[in-house]
Amino acid sequence: MTTERPVVFVVDDDARVRAALSSLLASAGLDVAVFASATAFLNAEKPDAPACLVLDLELPDIHGLDLQKELAERHAPPIVFITGHGDVPSSVRAMKAGAVEFLSKPFGDEELLRAIDAAVALDRAERLRRSERMALEDRYERLTPREREVLTFVVAGFANKETAADLGTSEITIGVHRGQIMRKMGARSLAELIRFSDKLGIRPHDRV
């Protein structure tokens, strides 16, 4: 995974800029895919690889910041904004919204490449996290409803006895459930189970 070749998407309506960036990134040994508009980018099929999006703020069909918002809802690569205007408010907004970098034209190659690297790294991490998460979700799927219920008590630190009393069942049954949970979830320890459950966003049962 870490050795997958990253790809850089470049979206800018100016042909000259596209041509120049293509050349530069190629010279840096990066795979590049250029688009003239946001629509073109959205419609295109993207390879499954860590990626970075170099995005012009002033696009004809949609403003870069709006696209950023939209992309945030999907799994989109991190963004490096480039712009011919470069006003402060936009840059602040862009960064707050999670952009990796905000560069004003003309910009130097180093800044750009550094930003792209960071973005790619981010993307890699994110991808990893995502796949982990997916695995965990698979495992969680396998839990029975009862087991999921018990899970909330377990990760809240309830003793089996307490849990049994609460749920109106026997301690032994709880113990069995616990064992199943640990096995299905692939947790080697309670602490790991707790971590998994956090990652899944499961809420521990309240302590009265």
């Binding site: 120049a20 960036l21 530069l24 010279s27 002033e58 011919g84 205007h85």
Partner: protein, 880 residues
């Protein structure tokens, strides 16, 4: 013995016979003279033959009888017929005894002459007995009979008479007059005396006292009759009780007298006409009235009709004939002309009397003198009659005319209403007579009507008034009430005629019209905007107060002017032309902004909307101007323009800022490309081995992109040549062409189909070149930018220039790009679809257009995109 008498031979045997007869005989010749008298005769009378012959025999006749006998004798002789008569003859001793004198003619053969044989027969005893018989008879007659001697001595009275008087004969003889009423006595004695003397029959009416003391009227008739008893004449008196008759007669006479008197006093006479005989009986009064002359035949109708005035005669005659024929009552008034020429007026009536069979027996009537009355009322009478007749005729007419008519008396009382009034009001004549108090006349109108009416009646002058009258269904309608007096020939008022005409519809229309007029007048007067009406030559006809205030003149003063006279000179020609076109029908109205000179010399700005009001049959056409004082507005506009000019300056500055932003962007792109290409080139060159082709490519791109950047700068610099606003006559086509060239190298211009149609005859506009260029450029750039994102259709930009109406040039820039949501809002300053944009581009365009007195608008196209329309006036004169 008998001698021949005077030559008349007498036969002997005849003589012998005669002498032998015991009767007294004598013979007369044809002339009546005795020619032979018998011995007996002579012996009886004692006369000698000589004395008795011829006429001598008459000496033996009683004195009282002589005349009678001789008359009789002569008559007999003349008739030659036998005859007999009573005669008293004197005996030889002087005593008179009654004889019958019989005469018979015979023919004497020997002489051939006519002879008479007269025999005198003694009838004394006959008479005596007859006298006794008479008495007996008389006694049995229930009448009062008395017999008096010739000289008047009572000899005999009937039993009835005696009984009636309660006297016997002797008593009566004693005092014959004691039963006679004292009042009648003198006259009776008088008359009796005369009668007894003359022997004339006596007729007398007198009152006699009856046995019971009651006086009763008695009719006496005494006749002298020769009594054969002793040859004496006696008075035979018959008395008949006529008391009842008399009183009745008296009463009748009195009533007749009274009637005649009445007739006389009333100048009425009676008449009777018998159709069978054709005879007219007339009373004295009629005769007097008609002045009947003794020689005239007044017993027949022609006389009476002739008396009638010729003018009246035909009518009366015809009427009489008709009544006669139809057996109807007869009534006629007419004038009669008297023989002396006088004219009287008679009024005749007649009543037909028919018998059981229905035949007309008679006509009885009266005729009355009405002259005084007629004279007194003649003219008026005729007039009245005529009036009544004409009234009758009028009434007929009045009922037929389709109007409401009432006839009043001279003092204003309702006398007659025609059928239409009755039908309309649904009231009776009696109810209508009380119109002053009822609800027929509307309560609100009644006081007014009553006042006018009363005045009119008093003054005799006609009146005209409007009032509401109640219809039978309760609805009130307006009527025009005309009253006028009717006068007779002498000018006196005899009545009033009231004519009512339904004017309700007209009234309501009038009211509506009046109210509407009132309203319009109020509108005119109170309008906040000045309204001026002028004749086609421009002279003021009427102005409202708003206009007057604007101009500082009164309405009257204004009427001395035409509006052109008050218009500032610079506008007069244009204004005139517009009016001419208006009057000529080339335009329906026009609007003009111009200046008026006020009375005080100041100038004001007005905006006039002028239209032509077409004429009607009663009104010539005129011009109507709605005039609004826009002086303030003008000042505001001037201020605004100044402000706008300043704003334009600011905008220029601002757009400079905006331009800067877009310049920056325009330049930045190629610059960024240059920098990036530079870096790329260096990297390619420092790769191992160096990638020369790639590096060269980058370097080339650097050159090209660098030029691009320079181009932008150059363009921008051209656009930003600062120069003051300078208006000149510009050829729009030229300006548009320049801008198109500028736009040509705009990147967004790529792939856009340009469609330019410019009107070659478009006149020049008076404008600032730079500003117009800026305007055009802004619009075109907007269009191109709207087209940039377009996919899926051919990008089109069209530019058109045309002339509109007479005085405007129109430029249209249209694209089929992404369009504006709300074209109007786009013009607002600081509205923009572009980020980083200050949103002033279109606002600036608008201010440029305004500075040139034009207009700018934007519209969404039916398909895609927007069309911007610039209108610029073609004007040759600079207006402030």
């Amino acid at each position: 013995m008998i001698a021949s008498v005077a030559g008349y031979p007498v036969d002997d045997h005849v003589r012998a016979v005669l002498d032998a007869m015991p009767t007294l005989v004598w013979v007369a010749d044809a002339d009546g003279a005795a020619i032979y008298l018998s011995r007996r005769w002579l012996e009886y009378t004692g006369l000698s033959a000589h004395d008795a012959s011829g006429d001598g025999w008459t000496s033996a006749v009683h004195h009282d009888d002589i005349d009678r006998v001789t008359d009789y004798w002569r008559a007999v002789l003349a008739s030659r017929e036998p005859g007999e008569v009573n005669v008293r003859l004197r005996r030889f001793d002087g005593q008179y005894r009654p004889f019958l004198f019989c005469a018979a003619p015979f023919h004497h053969v020997s002489s051939g002459q006519a002879r008479w044989c007269v025999t005198n027969i003694d009838i004394d005893h006959l008479l005596r007995s007859s006298g006794r018989q008479v008495h007996a008879i008389v006694d049995n007659i229930p009448a009062l009979i008395a017999i008096h001697s010739r000289s008047g001595e009572l000899e005999y009275s009937s039993r009835a008479a005696q009984e009636s008087r309660g006297q016997d004969l002797d008593e009566m003889k004693q005092s014959p007059f004691n039963t006679v009423h004292p009042d009648d006595l003198p006259a009776l004695i008088d008359t009796q005396q005369r009668s007894f003397t003359t022997g004339e029959p006596l007729e007398f009416e007198l009152r006699l006292r009856r046995a019971d003391g009651v006086y009763r009227w008695c009719h006496m008739r005494s006749v002298l009759v020769s009594d054969d008893y002793d040859g004496a004449a006696r008075w035979y008196t018959v008395g008949t009780d006529i008391h009842d008759r008399k009183t009745a007669e008296d009463a009748l006479r009195r009533s007749e007298t009274f009637l005649l008197e009445v007739q006389r006093l009333s100048r009425t006479g009676g008449w009777r006409f018998d159709p069978a005989t054709g005879v007219v009986e007339s009373s004295p009064e009629i005769q007097r009235a008609y002045a009947v002359q003794p020689d005239e035949d007044f017993a027949h109708p022609p006389f009476w009709f002739d008396r009638i005035h010729p003018d009246d005669r035909p009518r009366v005659q015809a009427l009489f004939e008709q009544c006669l024929h139809a057996k109807t009552e007869y009534r006629a008034g007419y004038r009669i002309v008297l023989p002396d020429g006088g004219i009287r007026y008679q009024y005749a009536t007649g009543h037909p009397v028919t018998n059981d069979a229905g035949h007309l027996v008679e006509f009885i009537g009266a005729s009355m003198d009405m002259t005084e009355h007629w004279l007194a009322t003649t003219e008026r009478g005729f007039a009245e009659e005529a009036l009544r007749e004409s009234e009758r005729k009028s009434r007929l007419v009045v009922d037929s005319i389709p109007g409401l008519v009432a006839l009043l008396t001279a003092d204003g009382k309702v006398e007659f209403v025609n059928r239409q009034i009755l039908e309309y009001t649904g009231r009776t004549l009696e109810e209508l007579k009380r119109w002053g108090t009822g609800d027929t006349v509307h309560a609100e109108d009644r006081p007014r009507i009553t006042k006018v009416f009363t005045q009119s009646i008093a003054s005799g002058s006609p009146y005209e008034i409007e009032e509401r009258l109640r219809r039978s269904d309760g609805v009130y309608r307006w009527f025009q009430n005309n009253g006028f007096p009717l006068r007779d020939t002498s000018g006196d008022i005899v009545g009033w005629c009231v004519l009512l005409t339904d004017i309700d519809d007209r009234k309501r229309a009038e009211e509506a019209l009046y109210r509407s007029e009132e309203r319009w007048r109020a509108v005119f007067e109170n309008s906040a905007i000045g309204v001026a009406l002028t004749d086609p030559s421009g002279r003021f006809l009427a102005t409202n107060s708003a206009f007057q205030k604007m101009l500082g003149y009164t309405d009257e003063e204004l009427r001395a002017f035409t509006f052109l006279e008050l218009t500032q000179e610079a506008y007069r020609e244009w204004n005139s032309q517009l009016v001419t076109e208006l009057l000529g029908g080339q335009r329906r109205q026009f609007q003009i902004e111009k200046q008026y000179r006020r009375k005080d010399g100041a100038f004001i700005w007005v905006s006039n909307n002028v239209s032509l009001v077409p004429g009607t049959t009663s009104m010539p056409r005129f011009l109507m101007a709605l005039s609004e004082d826009i002086t303030k507005r003008k000042h505001a506009e001037a201020t605004l323009r100044r402000t706008q000019a300043e704003l334009a300056q600011v905008a220029r500055a601002a757009s400079l800022g905006e331009m800067t932003a877009s310049i920056a962007h325009e330049v930045n792109q190629p610059l960024a490309a240059v920098v990036t290409n530079g870096h790329a080139c260096l990297r390619w060159l420092s790769a191992s081995p160096p990638n020369l082709p790639k590096a060269a490519g980058a370097a080339q791109r650097i050159v090209k992109d660098g030029k691009d950047a320079g181009e932008v700068v150059r363009r921008v610099r051209a656009l930003f040549k600062r120069s003051p606003v300078e208006k000149v006559q510009l050829d729009l086509g030229e300006v548009i062409g320049e801008v198109l060239r500028l736009v040509d190298s705009y990147p967004a211009r790529q792939h856009v189909v340009l469609d330019v149609v410019l009107d070659p005859d478009l006149p020049s506009v008076f404008a600032d070149r730079i500003q117009l260029q800026q305007l055009m450029l802004n619009l075109m750039v907007n269009a191109l930018e709207a087209l940039e994102p377009v996919t899926g259709r051919v990008k089109q930009l069209s530019v058109r220039s045309t002339r509109a109406e007479l005085h405007h040039a129109v430029i249209q820039i249209s694209d089929n790009g992404i369009g504006l949501d709300d074209p109007r809002v786009a013009f607002e300053p600081f509205v923009t679809t572009k980020p980083e944009g200050m949103g002033l581009g279109l606002a600036i365009c608008r201010s440029i257009v305004a500075a040139h007195r034009g207009s700018l608008s934007a519209e969404r196209n039916a398909g895609f995109g927007t069309t911007f329309t610039v209108t610029l006036p073609i004007q040759t004169v600079e207006t402030a």
